[in-house]
């Protein structure tokens, strides 16, 4: 019964995400709304054709949100590729053999001429140091340094955000690496893994099929979802301080509306219901996106168990 309920929740979250992602992928361009006489239709109220109305420039806000979501997903996927590309090898290197950093063990393997084990041990120690070093740098410090470097090295603004995301993925990769290493360490002594080893299954197949796919996919999905949320939030943070991308993005939409919104809530700005709904739309999208992504990750873990 609980499994069916979990499955229903998972399907609901996937439907919400599809409702967000499909319009985002299918909307490719934005064109101002004009009436029959060719005039711009500014600040239009809600309608079936324009679910969130139009803004001051006569642009459909729903279309704008779709393009912003598409752009943010694009940026986040660059971070995700680096996150998985760096994090999984680091995690596997750290967890594949017994963890021991004591130099005496390395001497023992040299003495016994067990060079293959020594090789794995050296790789493991290097991975452990890299993971620890990356973990010790808080993400805000990393972002600050990366933004300065990219600003001075890359002249094209659109490429800068991709470079920022690339570094974000690398700096956050210890999260998945540590999770995977701990997972592999627990699994190493499981009976079915020992049995698979006894049956002569290759190390590569054991790692990819038995450990990474069958046992760790839930953790990988959860960490990937967390990374996607983090990447979207970093884009919002950078756009909030005008270091973000030049085009339409969730961060740019929020930073453009934030002064109007604070004015509305403090009572200093004119409270127009239409403006309020339009300005809060990117926020609502951000909240729905982050909560549904997190739920999807948690449900993936529950179902994989």
């Amino acid at each position: 019964m609980i499994r069916i309920l979990n499955l229903i929740q998972l399907v609901l979250v996937i439907i919400i995400l599809i409702l967000i992602i499909i319009p985002a992928i299918t909307t490719t361009h934005i064109s101002p709304v004009v009436d029959s006489e060719g005039n711009l239709v500014k600040n239009l109220s809600f309608s079936l054709q324009h679910p969130l109305g139009t803004d001051y420039y006569g642009e459909d806000i729903f279309q704008k949100l779709c393009i912003a979501t598409y752009n943010n997903i694009k940026y986040a996927f660059v971070a995700l590729i680096c996150f998985l590309g760096v994090g999984i090898p680091l995690g596997v290197s750290l967890g594949f053999k017994d963890r021991s950093t004591h130099l005496v063990f390395l001497k023992y393997y040299i003495y016994k001429k067990r060079y293959s084990v020594l090789f794995f041990k050296v790789i493991q120690n290097v991975a452990a140091v890299v993971i620890h070093a990356l973990q010790s740098i808080p993400i805000i410090i990393a972002i600050t340094i990366v933004v300065i470097i990219n600003q001075l090295n890359i002249s094209q603004p659109e490429l800068r955000i991709y470079a920022d995301m690339l570094f974000l993925g690398i700096f956050l990769s210890p999260k998945i690496a540590v999770t995977l290493a701990n997972h592999i360490e627990v699994l190493r002594n499981e009976e079915y893994i020992q049995a698979a080893k006894g049956l002569g299954i290759s190390r590569f197949r054991l790692l990819t099929s038995h450990i990474l796919w069958m046992e760790s996919r839930g953790s990988i999905i959860l960490q990937s979802m967390n990374l996607l949320i983090q990447a979207v939030m970093v884009e919002v943070l950078l756009s909030y301080f005008r270091f973000g991308p030049d085009g339409i993005s969730i961060g740019n939409m929020i930073s453009n509306d934030i002064e109007n919104l604070t004015g509305m809530f403090s009572g200093s700005g004119a409270v127009n219901q239409l403006d309020l709904y339009q300005a809060t739309a990117p926020f609502c999208l951000l909240i729905i996106f982050s909560i549904s992504m997190r739920w999807l990750g948690l449900k993936a873990i529950e179902l994989s168990e």
Binding site: A128, V129, P138, I148, N153, N226, L237, F265
Partner: protein, 278 residues
């Protein structure tokens, strides 16, 4: 212990080299920004933080009221205090909730269950979203307690701490020696206080770096004194908007102190665990 110490020295060296390497990838046209690691260390030790023509005079202990000066010390203290208080808040709330949930009183269980679910749900919201929503609704005005609550109860940190702690509590209450003490009518608290306090210390030290990151996010949003706002508003902002040469050595100095503090906390945690295993 020696092995742990050597490992941490190596990690510190690798982290600082990584930062130094990254900062020195600035193009050749700005060669004047490149600094040698030795001269940077020498300058920092002597207290010479501002070495170039920059917007602000940067000192470790300076006058906060002076608009043209930035004092790093107060920013560090502010961030570290906020982080420590937020960690303490997370631990207190999670211990109270978990004690009620794993305890024997049905009324307490019923009362704690919705609290746990609500806090867990709130915790799933990223600190940026929660911060921005509160920034808008409160018009950027927030007191210290509010700041600490946002730092502690967002970005999954509370959720992770509470769920891990609950597992530990359930596990320890089912240990043989605890069941034996209970059967003999002895106080259970007396038997679990030592392992629980050791576990709590390591857990608090473990989440400290993540909470520090949250604190920096919140400081940036609410423009409160701290490392986050110092980095974004006083170093990154002027460096990019006016195309000035960024104070790389100051950035390196700030980053080094934070990395050092995070590694020191991890080192203490590992030493406690090492002693425990021994």
């Amino acid at each position: 212990m020696l092995s742990i110490t050597i490992r941490y020295i190596v990690i510190l060296a690798v982290a600082l080299s990584l930062l130094y390497g990254l900062l020195n990838t600035i193009p050749d046209s700005r060669t004047e920004e490149r600094i040698s690691l030795i001269s940077w260390l020498g300058n920092a030790v002597e207290g010479e933080l501002t070495t170039r023509n920059y917007h602000y005079q940067i000192t470790f202990w300076g006058n906060d009221a002076d608009e043209n000066s930035i004092s790093l010390g107060s920013a560090f203290i502010s961030s570290f205090v906020n982080t420590s208080l937020a960690v303490l808040l997370i631990w207190i709330v999670s211990t109270l909730v978990n004690s009620s949930l794993v305890g024997s009183s049905e009324i307490m269980k019923r009362a704690a269950s919705p609290v746990s679910k609500t806090l867990g749900l709130l915790s799933n919201i990223h600190v940026m979203v929660m911060g921005l929503i509160l920034y808008i609704t409160l018009n950027g005005e927030i007191n210290s307690l509010g700041l600490i609550i946002i730092i502690g109860l967002s970005s999954n940190i509370y959720y992770d701490v509470e769920s891990e702690q609950r597992l530990y509590f359930s596990d320890i209450l089912n240990k043989d020696y605890v069941l034996n003490a209970r059967a003999m009518g002895d106080s259970v608290f007396k038997h679990i206080v030592k392992p629980v306090s050791t576990y709590s210390i390591t857990q608090i030290l473990g989440v400290w770096p993540s909470v520090l990151t949250n604190a920096m996010f919140v400081e940036i949003i609410f423009q409160k004194s701290g490392i986050g706002s110092l980095l974004f508003q006083n170093i990154l902002g002027p460096a990019i908007s006016s195309n000035l040469a960024p104070e790389i050595d100051v950035l390196m100095y700030v980053a080094s102190i934070i990395i050092l503090s995070i590694l020191a906390i991890s080192y203490i945690k590992e030493c406690i665990l090492f002693k425990l295993v021994k």
